[in-house]
């Protein structure tokens, strides 16, 4: 203990610069507040106009009171619009969390379920489930999870050369897996009859209006559970961001954390793809924003990304279902419209 000269200003600075539990809780509470506001606004918007006052009144009562809404309006609000908003939140939260954890684990700000081919893996799984176990709805998220997991490992193996994984190599591996799985998807569509192909192309672009009622509770549960599990591994991920070797040296059980992230992220991607197809770029845009405003500490950026992802997809889907109403756009078109330019910007900067 040679240098224990206490320096108050240093000590203060130390405490100010840190991401603390309080900061995290404050940020998350603020985002939850914003989420509630956005849910309410999204519930007021749609291809059918609902009277704002009555809608608010009914929302506040959690659907206990109809508040002057007609039966149809009440059904639109609680049977169609709100479930879709909740699904958007679950999908957005899942994809953003998965993106944030892939980025930390693979040390690559460009890692994203859609660009790594993980979404495509889940899509292939879902399509096979539809083809072979069409009647069993639960088979879709299960097969999507398996597909996502296989794609994840494939990308990881491809990206790890003898010289280690460079960001370029990872994205290249993602391109390979994505294109390979895209051709598998094309092949599977040829096994389907013509009339189903249209629905599938729409679904592949990311669509939140599909058959989701049964899968909604599962998607919500997985998004919340997954975000929690990954947040509880955030300190390990912080060190993994600096390299697997450093993390190992400092006491991280690298292979265990890697397996946890791969499995949880595959669950997150699988459940959202099974429910909504491939909504792209959410896992890229949202964690980037979270880190930009709150720093790279995963203890704050993962939960913040989960909540921001929910916000982002709710907004994107509200645009998708209102901009050319009563027709609809796939929500993936909106997220890609925002995400693709950002991706190109990040790639140029990297």
């Amino acid at each position: 203990m040679t240098a224990t000269v206490s320096n108050t200003s240093t000590a203060m600075r130390l405490r100010e610069n840190r991401v603390t539990l309080q900061k995290t809780v404050t940020a998350c509470l603020a985002l939850i507040g914003a989420l509630v506001v956005v849910v309410v606004i999204a519930a007021l918007l749609g291809s059918e106009r609902l009277p704002a006052g009555d809608t608010l009144c009914s929302l506040v009562s959690f659907g206990a009171r109809q508040c002057g809404l007609t039966n149809d309006q009440f059904d639109i609000l609680f049977q169609i619009r709100l479930p879709r908003i909740f699904l958007a939140a679950a999908v957005g939260g899942s994809l953003a969390t998965a993106g944030a954890s892939y980025q930390a684990l693979l040390r690559n700000p460009l890692a994203e379920p859609y660009l790594l081919g993980v979404s495509n893996g889940a899509a292939v799984g879902t399509m096979l489930a539809l083809l072979f176990f069409g009647k069993m709805e639960w088979s879709r998220p299960l097969m999507a999870f398996v597909g996502a997991l296989i794609a994840t490992f494939a990308v990881y193996r491809l990206a790890r050369g003898k010289v280690g994984a460079s960001p370029e190599r990872l994205i290249l591996a993602g391109v390979i897996v994505t294109t390979f799985l895209s051709s598998v998807i094309v092949f599977v569509t040829t096994l389907m009859d013509a009339t189903r192909i249209r629905s599938f192309t729409f679904w592949l672009l990311g669509d939140l209006s599909g058959a989701t009622k049964a899968l909604l509770p599962l998607a919500i549960a997985i998004s919340i559970g997954g975000a929690l599990v990954l947040t509880f591994n955030a300190r390990s991920l912080n060190l993994l961001m600096l390299g697997e070797r450093d993390a190992f040296d400092l006491g991280v059980e690298v292979s265990r954390v890697r397996i946890v992230v791969f499995i949880v992220a595959s669950l997150l991607v699988g459940s959202s793809v099974a429910a909504s197809g491939s909504v792209g770029y959410v896992g890229l845009v949202v964690p980037h924003l979270a880190r930009l405003s709150l720093g790279s500490d995963n203890r704050i950026s993962i939960p913040a990304a989960a909540l921001t992802g929910a916000l982002f997809v709710i907004v994107a889907d509200t645009v998708a279902r209102t901009i050319i109403a009563p027709r609809e756009l796939p929500v993936g078109a909106i997220t890609a419209l925002i995400g693709a330019p950002l991706f190109i910007y990040l790639l140029k900067r990297a």
Binding site: G46, S47, E48, N71, D72, Q73, D75, I76, Q79, I80, R81, L115, I171, L172, V175, T190, D193, A194, T195, R196, I197, R198, S199, F202, W203, L205, D207, S209, G210, A211, K213, G280, R321, I324, A325, P326, R327, E328, L329, G332, A333, A336, L337, A340, P341, F343, I344, L347
Partner: protein, 310 residues
């Protein structure tokens, strides 16, 4: 190059977006014209292109089931040397050489068959396709009917192309007679507001460009989505619910098989579902703008206005 691929995905999206935005308005179709000269003749197709054809056409490839049906219906089955895997009517059509499906025809196989003309039912995927076939002296004729008149026009044109003008005229006359009979029968009955459900999940319907929208009107119905731009738009579930249709048409049981035999969840409380006014009609009649469209018209009219056909 690798960066280019990444950009490609982004561009693809922009393209899809532009495509969806650009089809915002309903348009009407062009009128055909035919010109004849000594050893070749010219005919205008539904894409507005002037097509040069030999005087005598006896080698035809059809890339859509409705066109295959038309060729057979005007008695030109012998000249059909290639069609698609979707072409299953009449039964003879099944044994004709397949050149792929409507969306992915094999160019090589088409060229190998040495047809004089290829019949195509929509203007999609045509640019490169047409150029390649042109360079092999194969004409591409595009049909794009938006209503029953358009179907009649297709029949007339196909008849002209394969030298079955007279048969085509007779067929169209017969079909017109049947459609006029339906017109007479349903005249005076109130139009029934209905929802045409192409698929439930996701919810697709027929827009203003779909020929079935015209069929619905002729059958004494009124599609609640008749003014929606596009042929087969994806439709908002809440708008479908709010429309409160009195009937729902489910095209199913043909090529669709068991598919699409249930009403979408958003419509489960509609007056149509509550009063049992959900009608399944063979999808091949309603999605193929061919001679059997009139069968679809008759079935639909009888379903909507049973009292008119007593």
């Amino acid at each position: 190059m690798f960066l280019g691929w990444l950009h490609y995905r982004a561009l693809l999206w922009c393209g899809i977006f532009a495509l969806l935005i650009s089809t915002l308005s309903c348009t009407s179709s062009t009128s055909p014209s035919t010109k004849t000269s000594s050893n070749s003749r010219e005919i205008t197709d539904d894409a507005g292109r002037l097509i040069a054809l030999p005087q005598r056409v006896d080698r035809v490839v059809s890339l859509a089931p409705n066109l295959t049906e038309i060729v057979f219906a005007v008695g030109g089955g012998d000249s059909l040397i290639g069609n698609t895997t979707y072409c299953d009517f009449p039964v003879e059509a099944r044994s004709i050489e397949k050149v792929g499906d409507t969306l992915h025809p094999s160019l090589e196989r088409i060229i190998a068959l040495r047809p004089q003309v290829v019949l195509v039912s929509t203007a999609s995927q045509l640019e490169v396709f047409t150029q390649q076939l042109d360079s092999h002296n194969i004409a591409v004729f595009v049909t794009d009917p938006h209503d029953l008149e358009g179907v009649f026009r297709s029949i007339t044109q196909v008849g002209e192309i394969i030298g079955k003008t007279e048969q085509a005229r007779i067929l169209v006359a017969k079909l017109r007679e049947r459609s006029a009979a339906v017109d007479n029968a349903v005249k005076g009955f109130p139009r029934i507001r209905l929802f045409y459900q192409l698929s439930a999940e996701p919810l697709y319907t027929a827009g203003c460009d779909a020929f079935v929208t015209d069929l619905i009107k002729r059958a004494g119905g009124e599609s609640v989505t008749a003014d929606v731009p596009g042929a087969w738009p994806k439709y908002s579930a809440e708008s479908a619910l709010a429309a409160r249709p009195d009937a729902v048409i489910l095209p199913t049981g043909g090529s669709m098989g068991e598919g699409n035999s249930n009403v979408a969840e958003a419509l489960s409380k509609s007056p149509a579902a509550q009063h049992g006014r959900v009608y399944k009609i063979n999808d091949d009649y309603l999605v193929r703008p061919g001679p059997r469209a009139v069968d679809g018209l008759e079935e639909m009219a009888k379903a909507l206005h049973p009292e008119a056909f007593k």
